[in-house]
């Protein structure tokens, strides 16, 4: 099979860095990143979920005693969020195993948690570090469980407050079920509506995970199973019976993780992400088959993707703003913390950092990103970035960024541009650079 060396970094990775070699053997380069957790060498001092929950708790206490708005410099949550953004953006821009970083981004988006729910803000970094990264090269079921028990998801989709109507707490406090996480778990995270589940299944799933909640402070702040909020009795989900208790939720998630509909749903999303907006059905079939045969072992599934000829055919995917920002900034490879620049660029281009509008996450379809106004902001970003890279060789940079995919009109334009800056702006504004 023809595997294009340059494509490994462009399609599967986050773009070639200025100081990065094109892998001699792209297949081996990719395979090597399907081993081990996607946990990089982070800077010291990043928060755990317990740190983040305690900071949120502290902020709540401050608000109780403060008559005015909390000054951002006194807000205990703000420094954690800044550190998270710096750490994750740092990985995107500097990672040598950028295929694994792309997998981290893919699964982070699959299991979207968003800053649009304010309290999620400081929990997203810990969520990525604790629930996503350790599991990108493991079984999907393990990741699913880690996600569903993580405070970021429990806060974002309101399960922390959900109580069984017949539970001790529910009866006493007259509170009840919140279906949000149960529904999205079925619709978005696992089987998808194609599985044909009913409202009764949604209610059952939500009931199964009642009591999956949070201890908000203390050294052991984090996931807490609140038996008093748990709906008593066994539940029937998609024709299966699951027992009362925390175990029932664990079993239900394990069942959903290896469901044929989950296999098909995830296979479609993976093929769409790595091959084409409208992926070839035969490829989806092969991925789903492998998924079922390995009970959702993600490296095995990804091996099917990277071994498929369909994944090595030209630049078929439009880069999202995140992809575009990473690829351009990796190419120019500026020193220092660039997270503010990344965040402001993504904001301007319509994909604000960790701010997806809904639990569905960001779209993976070109049609959702070819918005005229935000595309022009890519050009403006390209011009601004090129101002910081005006000491670089535009011709060499074009080779770094696109290799053989730079078309002749672009090469000519770059070579003849009026300045380094203009040449680099043209490179990053070209249709080939906007694709991967």
């Amino acid at each position: 099979m023809e595997t294009h060396p340059a494509l490994a970094l462009i399609r599967f990775g986050l773009g070639r860095r200025g100081d990065e070699d094109v892998p001699a053997d792209p297949g081996a380069w990719l395979q090597a990143q399907l081993d081990g957790p996607g946990t990089p060498a982070y800077p010291d001092g990043l928060s755990s979920v317990a740190d983040a929950l305690n900071a949120l708790h502290q902020l709540g206490e401050l608000r109780k005693i403060s008559k005015t708005k909390i000054d951002p410099k006194d807000d205990p949550v703000v420094p954690l969020m800044k550190a998270d953004a710096a750490a994750e953006c740092g990985q995107w821009l500097s990672a040598e195993d950028s295929f694994r970083e792309r997998l981290v981004l893919f699964w982070t988006n699959h299991f979207t948690v968003s800053r649009r729910t304010g309290a999620c803000g400081p929990l997203i970094g810990p969520f990525i570090r604790e629930a996503i990264r350790p599991n990108v090269n493991g079984d999907f079921g393990t990741m699913l469980l880690a996600v569903m028990r993580h405070p970021a998801m429990l806060v974002y989709l309101n399960n922390a407050q959900s109580a069984g109507p017949d539970s001790v707490g529910g009866l006493r406090r007259h509170v009840g079920l919140n279906e949000n996480l149960g529904r999205e778990c079925l619709e978005l995270h696992t089987v998808s509506p194609a599985a044909g589940y009913t409202q009764a299944d949604v209610t059952a799933m939500a009931s199964i995970i009642t009591g999956w909640s949070i201890k908000p402070d203390g050294d052991d702040a984090g996931f807490l199973f609140r038996r008093r909020a748990h709906e008593p009795g066994s539940k029937i989900l998609m024709g299966r019976e699951f027992p009362e208790g925390e175990e029932g939720g664990i079993e239900a998630l394990a069942f959903l993780a290896v469901h044929p509909s989950t296999a098909r749903h995830l296979a479609t999303k993976l093929a769409r992400h790595f091959v084409a907006d409208d992926p070839p059905p035969a490829l989806v079939e092969r991925i789903a088959d492998r998924y079922l045969a390995t009970s959702g072992n993600l490296p095995e599934v990804m091996r099917v993707v990277i071994a498929s000829p369909e994944a090595w055919q030209g630049l078929s995917k439009l880069r999202t703003p995140l992809d575009f920002t990473c690829a351009s900034m990796r190419a120019v490879n500026l020193p220092g913390d660039q997270s503010k620049r990344v965040a402001s660029a993504m904001n301007a281009m319509g994909q604000p950092l960790w701010n997806a509008p809904s639990p569905k996450g960001w779209s993976d379809l070109a049609s959702d990103w070819v918005d005229p106004a935000t595309l022009l902001r890519r050009v403006e970003f390209a011009y601004q970035l090129s101002g910081s890279a005006n000491n670089q060789d535009p011709v060499a940079l074009t080779d770094v960024a696109l290799g053989p995919f730079a078309a002749k009109p672009l090469k000519t334009a770059v070579a003849n541009a009026g300045s380094r800056r203009e040449a680099i702006a043209l490179l990053f504004s070209s249709p080939e650079f906007w694709r991967r």
Binding site: L318, A366, V370, D371, P372, A373, L375, L376, V379, E380, Y383, Q384, G387, S388, N390, N391, D393, P394, P409, L410, A413, N416, A417, G418, S419, R420, R421, E422, A423, A425, L426, S429, S430, P431, W434
Partner: protein, 397 residues
């Protein structure tokens, strides 16, 4: 016929009867002013300004034959050149500069080029900024700052007014920078045009880019209609002038403006870019206020353009161009340099305006006469340059 790059007095005839720049070896540093009170601003025109359109030798018999559709009406006619004394005319977009010329504050030097011979923008800009015939890690203006008394305070550091640091100012001497906001850093109109062209054939991106530009009232191909489409120089230069005017402010500053690479549709594009330059220089003077009298501004471009019009109503990369020296301290009101002529055998490689004045002699002259830099420092500032410092650039008080 290869021609020497440095020239000596009287070697060539001058048009206009203007006194030639005098080039004196071994500059003496006898100044009637404290060196730290003088201001020097360098403006880089990136993309290669067409000197023959900007300072048009309308008295030249060959001009019409070379330039065809690029010709502007002679002085006195509607939309015509602004007269510079009978042989040369200034582009009508440069009304502000023409006023300075009339007030004796603008010295125009024609047929100027760096000693390098490259028609690559990137290489030539590197050399123009490095002050050498190859790219260095530092710029000549920074090294020149190092040869002057160090700034008394941080506020007096050399200033870059712009969003990017030009190589010209890179180096050992710490510099400060000023930028009003990101919106001021607008992309040149011609670059938008190129972006639109690059994506035009793309079925997905092309229409979206076109639509985006249309919604910004951008009529593709008619870049001249875009208002303020090139980086708005005045928004940088006005405040830069104010900073320079402060008693404890910087004494050296660098500015840049792109949009000069006029391979096609040169007439409207050049008119627009020149207007921005003109507004920028007027704003700089306004910002400086009384300090304008102690200021010299050097405006240079990496090379000139072809003497002949090309096939797309523009000009291609050439060699010599014009250079401006302006300011209240400048001995202006004249066109200087050595006019090489436009006959085929007078053109450089039968193609470009022949360089008769070395850009480094002009820069050295300003550093020596205006900023008190000793000639011994020139070896480090312009390594490998044997050009003598020009004299007579600065008004004698």
């Amino acid at each position: 016929m290869p021609k020497p790059l440095a020239f000596t007095i009287g070697r060539r005839s001058l048009l206009l009867g203007m006194p030639a720049l005098a080039f004196a070896g071994g500059i003496r540093t006898a100044f009637a002013y404290a060196p730290t009170d003088q201001r020097l601003v360098v403006v880089l025109l990136r993309g290669a300004m067409d000197g023959l359109s900007v300072v048009a030798p309308y008295g030249s018999p060959q001009l019409a034959g070379l330039r065809g559709g690029l010709m502007l009406p002679e002085p006195g006619q509607p939309g015509g050149l602004l007269d510079l004394g009978g042989q040369f005319g200034l582009h009508p977009s440069l009304a502000g500069l023409h006023g300075m010329y009339s007030d004796g504050e603008l010295l125009i030097l024609h047929a100027v080029a760096g000693p390098y011979r490259s028609r690559s923008h990137f290489d030539a800009q590197d050399m123009m900024e490095s002050g050498a015939d190859h790219r260095l890690d530092s710029g000549w203006l920074n090294r020149a700052a190092g040869a002057m008394p160090p700034p008394a305070s941080e506020s007096a550091r050399p200033l870059v007014a712009g969003l990017s640091m030009p190589l010209l100012m890179e180096g050992a001497v710490p510099v400060s920078s000023y930028a009003p906001d990101k919106l001021a850093d607008k992309m040149p109109a011609a670059l938008w045009d190129q972006v639109a062209m690059l994506s035009a054939a793309d079925p997905l991106i092309g229409p979206a880019v076109q639509e985006g530009l249309a919604s910004r009232s951008y009529d593709a191909g008619v870049v001249a209609q875009m208002q303020g489409a090139t980086g708005d120089l005045a928004r940088f230069s006005g405040p830069a002038g104010q900073l320079l005017a402060a008693p404890d402010g910087p004494r050296i500053a660098a500015l840049e403006i792109g949009g000069w690479d006029t391979h096609q549709a040169q007439k409207p594009r050049l008119a627009q870019t020149l207007k921005l330059l003109d507004d920028g220089m007027v704003a700089l003077k306004g910002g400086l206020g009384p300090a304008w009298s102690k200021t010299a501004v050097l405006v240079i471009t990496e090379f000139g353009r072809t003497a002949r019009e090309n096939g797309t109503n523009g000009t291609d990369h050439g060699t010599a161009s014009a250079c401006f020296v302006l300011g209240g301290a400048v001995a202006g009101g004249r066109v200087g340099g050595t006019w090489p002529g436009l006959a085929d055998n007078q053109l450089f490689e039968n193609r470009d305006l022949d360089p008769t004045t070395d850009m480094w002699s002009v820069a050295k002259g300003l550093l020596a006469e205006h900023m008190g830099v000793r000639s011994a420092a020139f070896r480090a500032i312009f390594p490998g340059s044997s050009a003598d410092p020009a004299s007579g650039l600065i008004r004698r008080v």
